[in-house]
Amino acid sequence: MGELEETVLDAFRRGGLSRRAFLKFCAATASLLALPPAAATAMAETLARTPRPTVIYLSYQECTACLESMTRSFSPTIEHLIFNNISLAFNDTLQAAAGEAAEAARKEAMRQAWGKYILIVDGAVPMGAGGAYCVAAGQSAVDDLRHAAQGAAAIIAVGTCAAFGGIPYAAPNPTGAVPVSEVIRDRPVINVSGCPPIPEVMTGVVVYYLSFGMPALDHQGRPLAFYGNSIHDRCYRRPFYDEGRFAHTFDDEGARNGWCLYELGCKGPVTYNACATLKWNQGTSFPIQSGHGCLGCSEPDFWDKGGFYRPLSAATGHWPRGEVLGAAALGGVVVGAGMAALARSHQKTSAAKTAKEAGSPPPKEDPHER
């Protein structure tokens, strides 16, 4: 039996795990994906005969937090199983090999699974200066991605940088960074955004794809199973929002009582992610539960939205809340808005962003060179 014919169930067995462990894994994943429970059985049946996937994980302009998120989940978990024991054929940060040996290993893994592997990309892709800002083994990120995409059965952009450009894409975007979907335009890219994404979400998307094919995506290319609700929709502080009870500083009565963080800049109402339900660190907590507003990290351009501590603007339709605000909060709003206007006047909208909004082809040259 060739390596590619080994099924997911075989890989479990090889790792010393029983079929019961496999069934448990399927039950937990189906529940995680909010699939009807019968889907766990269907998933087990499919995965028992699905060839073990080859996952090629490529990193470009990124900070490695996406990988940290995935590997820092505590002792052997479901995430570890699917990525480390089962499928990960190439990841330059995790593997022991380096330099030419690493490149050779990657070429071999891609050649063996050409047309079948799952390509995970984290990091944005710099288009400026002919792609020279990110080069490994003599190949630019953009050329590397185009090549790797050709042999991929599915492409998953992990993290906000790969999905929407993220931090490298933030103004003034000196490297002309673009998201994966601007380099690969002829096929769908599954965007698993978040800075970083929740580890269970990354696993869930891979398992869903293996069991049932392409997941349903929202208008930003994100799987609806995880990005279908806003943080605000699922926030446990929501009853305080509805009653108009807000924290106005991080140490006032409202903050101490766990009231809504809207006035402290929470972006929960416009942010779609699963933090409020899945939470972080094995379901321990999430930012709002720890007393800080949502930064909106799973949304495009979250870095350039005018300040993490500035309340969402009137445009979101929430401004009538101003009626219940104290003077201090109103003062904060005005200062915040002024700061944002100032910040904007120092920025010029990057050509890459304009291109993205207009849906035109990606800029060939550094968009900042005029």
């Binding site: 795990l17 039950a27 937990a28 529940s31 002792s75 479901i78 009853p239 009582n257 766990g258």
Partner: protein
């Protein structure tokens, strides 16, 4: 931060209301009826439902406690127990860190995860035979 119930405002609908359990009981009854007539199994994912403590109490009370309790030790602990209604199993899967992965009610004769699977039996048999062979004098 104070615990949420120390805040004088009720942050969520009062938890002494059992809103979903009565409907669940109907679902369970219908599933049992189907199981009896056709053998078709059913499963209700409790982790996906908003259940108040009162809902849980009502469910526990209506279903009661049965005769079978199974603890599975694979990828962390799983606790499976038959409720007082034969054919209704309460299933809790936990990770190795003890985090609840999923909780469900399985309506079936016995949950699929319990019986030994032929492939596992074959592997066990092979291992047993190897151990037997190595114990025999002369190794055959």
């Amino acid at each position: 931060m104070k615990p949420i119930d120390a805040i004088p405002i009720r942050p969520a609908p009062a938890s002494d209301v059992a809103g979903n359990a009565p409907a669940l009981l109907h679902e369970i009854a219908a599933a049992l009826d189907t199981l009896l007539r056709t053998g078709r199994e059913y499963c209700i994912d409790l982790s996906a439902l908003p259940l108040s403590p009162a809902d849980r109490d009502l469910l526990r009370e209506a279903l009661g406690t049965g005769e079978v309790r199974v603890d599975l030790d694979t990828l962390g602990n799983s606790h499976i127990e038959e409720t007082g209604v034969p054919g209704v199993w309460w299933v809790c899967h936990r990770s190795e860190d003890g985090v609840l992965l999923t909780e469900s009610l399985a309506i079936c004769r016995v949950p699929e995860i319990i019986p030994a699977h032929p492939a596992d039996i074959a592997m066990g048999l092979q291992g047993l035979q190897e151990r037997m062979a190595s114990r025999e004098p002369g190794g055959h």
